[in-house]
């Protein structure tokens, strides 16, 4: 039995009076051993981040530890003593953050920021500190440490910033490393590399790592032991093998079942509906001012062609900056098109004016990424859903009736029509947005990252809703996502984009079975959770 480097013993943190529950975390007991990764898994509001903040002694002032203690190497943390905690933080316990770029001081060179750890802890001779930083940068696999040392955060990519933050955390070889959603803000290929680094550090650093995440894929990649949290309580705690092969708690099973499985949707050569959309060599060029008179052209969308039939789903998959959202806005003609043709509903729309587009918009609808911004906060939900039919000439009473029907169709009560958007959760709001889009009975629905801001279990429900509605209503669906697993579970075909160009465009099954391009293979390999066969897990957990 290895001795734990850190232990949390029956920790309870109170919420301020008036919150929706009494405790942010309640009676949490955990331990982390040297050389292992403990994954703390939960959805938003589960209390997992509060637990991390409590361990660091950095709880927001409104939260207070009522009972419990935290031990590092057997000694309780002096949580009340500011000076002693400052000496411990960064030296014996360290932390890495969700937004790596924001975690660095924007106006200080990153090398100096790492060096500051040595300075404030008076570690080593001042003369050797620069060398220490450079070797740390090498240890976290940053290329060209000298250049990185002199760089400002905004000059580095998100992945590089996260490596800098990790270097900062490792500087004084802490015994416990707390990582709060360290890869959530990163692209999937970058995420895979950072997770590789974490697996490597687990061996080389002899530290215990506590990794907080909402993503069971990440857990599958790095977790040795797993604690599942919900509403501030640890509902299940076990080894990797126990959790993945025999999850006991219902909520764990629920979370596991919600993980999108990278297994292709069955390819049914059903009745051939007519082609809804043809995109032919479409380009969109952004001009960046470079000097007084010169511009640099950035091809956000570069010569893309695709076609889509009614009742079918095409997934457009790419990392941030790949041009996938720009492509969607071009097709919707919410953005000008700089070249090529788009045929929709028998018309060429690439050069259509806003006025000629307006009647066509009835046939093509969109669901946006952020359901919190996509609804007018001052408009009742029913009125929002009815607005499209009203614009396109339906009578008021009929439109209101249709809105209630649509709300029912997306799984909300018809009474929701009289309420305002802020009364709904994120998942419910996305349902409202889907109802609004489908109220017009469009031939084409474009969904731009519709589930990426939602919790995993909600994500699964919304994906199911898309599939069910498509079966019922027969619209063509263009589904934009950064997550291959999500695309696989929903789409008949997948188009992989990078730097504005098509990398590979094939039926989902073929693409997964035999990816032809290196970038597609890299994306597939980077998808978290490849170590665990979730379809088997799924079979095990669904009775």
């Amino acid at each position: 039995m290895p001795t734990p480097v850190a232990e949390v013993r029956s920790l309870t943190v109170d919420l301020p009076a008036g919150a929706d529950r009494r405790h942010a975390v309640e009676d949490v007991t955990l331990s982390v051993n040297a050389g292992e990764v403990l994954c703390l898994v939960g959805e938003s509001g589960s209390g997992k981040s509060v637990t991390a903040q409590a361990i660091m002694g950095m709880l927001p002032p409104a939260l207070r530890i009522s009972t419990g203690e935290i031990l590092v190497e057997g000694a309780p943390l002096p949580l009340g003593n500011t000076a002693e905690m400052e000496a411990i933080r960064g030296a014996r316990i360290a932390m890495i953050f969700q937004e790596p770029t924001a975690a660095l001081n924007p106006i200080q060179r990153v090398g100096r920021q790492v060096e500051e750890v040595f300075t404030v802890h008076r570690a080593g001779a001042a003369a050797g500190r620069r060398e220490n930083v450079l070797s740390l940068f090498a240890a976290v696999r940053l290329p060209d440490p000298e250049r990185i040392y002199r760089a400002y955060p905004h000059q580095l990519s998100g992945g590089q910033c996260q490596r800098v933050v990790i270097a900062m955390a490792l500087a004084l070889q802490p015994r416990l490393l707390v990582a709060d959603e360290p890869t959530t803000a990163l692209d999937v290929t970058t995420q895979a590399k950072i997770l590789d680094l974490i697996n490597e550090l687990k061996v080389t650093q002899d530290a215990g790592i506590m990794l907080i995440t909402h993503d069971f894929g990440v857990v599958a990649d790095v977790g040795d032991r797993i604690a599942v949290m919900r509403h501030g309580i640890i509902v299940e705690h076990g080894t990797r093998a126990q959790i993945f092969s025999a999850p006991k708690h219902e909520y764990t099973r629920h979370l596991l079942a919600a993980v999108p499985v990278a297994s292709p949707r069955e390819h049914r050569p059903s009745d051939q509906l007519p082609t809804a959309l043809t995109v032919d060599h479409v380009s969109r060029i952004y001009k960046q001012r470079q000097g007084f008179f010169s511009h640099r052209e950035v091809k956000a969308v570069d010569d893309i062609s695709l076609s889509l039939q009614g009742g079918r789903t095409l997934g457009v998959v790419g990392e941030s900056g790949s041009g996938k959202s720009t492509l969607a806005r071009c097709i919707l003609r919410l953005e000008p098109v700089d070249g090529g043709a788009i045929r929709f509903a028998g018309q060429e729309i690439a050069s259509a004016t806003e006025a000629t587009m307006r009647p066509l918009r009835k046939e093509m609808q969109v669901v946006l990424q952020d359901p919190y911004q996509a609804l007018n906060p001052r408009q009742r939900v029913g009125s929002a859903v009815a607005e499209g039919p009203l614009i396109h000439g339906e009578g008021a009473a009929q439109a209101a009736e249709r809105a209630r029907h649509m709300l029912e169709l997306v799984g909300l009560s018809p009474q929701s029509a009289d309420r305002y958007p802020h009364e709904f959760s994120g998942g419910q709001r996305q349902r409202i947005c889907i109802a609004r889009a489908l109220a017009l009975e469009p031939k084409l629905l474009i969904a731009d990252e519709p589930v990426s801001s939602l919790d995993v279990s909600i994500q699964a429900q919304i994906l199911e809703l898309f599939a069910a509605l498509q079966k019922k209503l027969g619209f063509a669906l263009l589904f934009i996502t950064h997550d291959l697993r999500v695309a696989a579970s929903l789409c008949h075909e997948i188009l992989v984009m990078q730097h504005g160009r098509v990398v590979e465009h094939r039926p989902t099954g073929d693409l997964f079975a035999d990816p032809r391009e290196a970038y597609t293979r890299a994306l597939l390999a980077a998808a978290p959770g490849k170590g665990v066969d979730f379809s088997k897990v799924l079979a095990a957990v669904t009775p």
Binding site: M58, T82, G90, E99, A103, N105, I107, V120, A169, R289
Partner: protein, 305 residues
């Protein structure tokens, strides 16, 4: 980066050119400039003499060209009262105004920023509330009223009458306080909100997580970041200072450009008024360019763009 700054300079030049052109044509819209520039009791032959002498008989475009050319050589006509060149008259008063404005800005900056920082660090304390109350007070207090109150207070309590030639430290301090009051309140309030915003940034939490002590977190990380938007406010506050100095100089009979401007407006000494307007526009435009440069120095994110 260089292009970015060149573009800023170009914009400033265009702005100044528009101001020069607007003032020129507005002057001409007022009616016959020769009549306006000559004392009202002068006979028609005198008007005619000056019309020819100053070229007002020429087409407007020629006049505009000449005016522009003269400006570039540092000439802006003569005052109708003294007959002296306007540029000289105005420049003579500039040091006095700079002394007053500089003192006011120094007071406002040093005091405003420090109490703003302290208020942010002691958020919701009595001190914080006092600072906020003071900043609202400073915002709402008309500077001419505040100046008069100071004069009244000094006269009643110290038996000193402050104003005009009355020198001594109070003679500078009282008008400077009057002028700086509104800016002081604005700086305090803005510094406080900028600091509060910075204190909530993730990198402040990261600094705490690596064991950086409180004082170092504040002075090495929070203050330099919070200072960036404050630099903008310095540029903006210049307009307030110039506007305020006109009133303040009047209240305290301070012999500066503001007093000169009021007197010139009262006597319709248009050449002087026009030149002061151009001087103010030039000062503010140049100051805003300097603020942009200062930005580049303190914010590396702009440097690379």
């Amino acid at each position: 980066m260089i292009f970015w700054f060149l573009r800023k300079i170009l914009r400033a030049v265009v702005t100044l050119w528009i101001v020069v052109t607007l003032t020129f044509f507005m002057m001409r819209m007022a009616g016959d400039p020769a009549e306006a520039l000559v004392p009202p009791d002068a006979g028609p032959e005198v008007v005619e003499y000056y019309r020819e002498k100053w070229g007002f008989d020429q087409p407007l475009s020629v006049q505009y060209g000449r005016y522009f050319g003269a400006l570039l050589q540092g000439e802006a006509g003569v005052s109708l009262h003294t007959g002296r060149p306007v540029v000289g008259i105005v420049i003579d008063k500039v040091p006095n105004t700079l002394l007053l404005g500089g003192t006011a800005l120094a007071i406002a900056l040093s005091l405003g920023i420090s109490i703003g920082i302290v208020a942010a660090l002691r958020r919701n304390s009595a001190l914080d509330r006092a600072v906020m109350a003071f900043s609202v007070f400073a915002f709402a207090m008309p500077n001419f009223f505040f100046g008069l109150l100071l004069i009244l207070g000094a006269a009643l309590l110290l038996k000193i009458f402050v104003g005009g030639s009355n020198a001594g430290p109070l003679g500078l301090l009282m008008p400077a306080a009057t002028l700086g009051l509104a800016q002081l309140g604005a700086f305090a309030r803005f510094t406080r909100s900028s600091m509060l915003e910075t204190l909530n940034k993730p990198f402040m939490m990261a600094a705490q997580a690596k064991g950086v002590p409180f004082a170092r977190r504040i002075f090495r990380h929070a203050v330099p970041n919070a200072a960036i938007p404050i630099v903008t406010l310095i540029g903006l506050s210049l307009g307030g200072l110039i506007a305020g100095s006109i009133v303040t100089e009047r209240v305290f009979a301070w012999p500066g450009v503001g007093s000169l401007l009021i007197r010139s407006v009262e006597t319709r000494d248009l050449a002087t008024v026009q030149f002061i307007v151009l001087l103010v526009a030039a000062t503010m435009t140049v100051a805003n360019l300097l603020v942009d440069l200062l930005y580049v120095v303190i914010d590396p994110r702009i440097r690379v763009k």
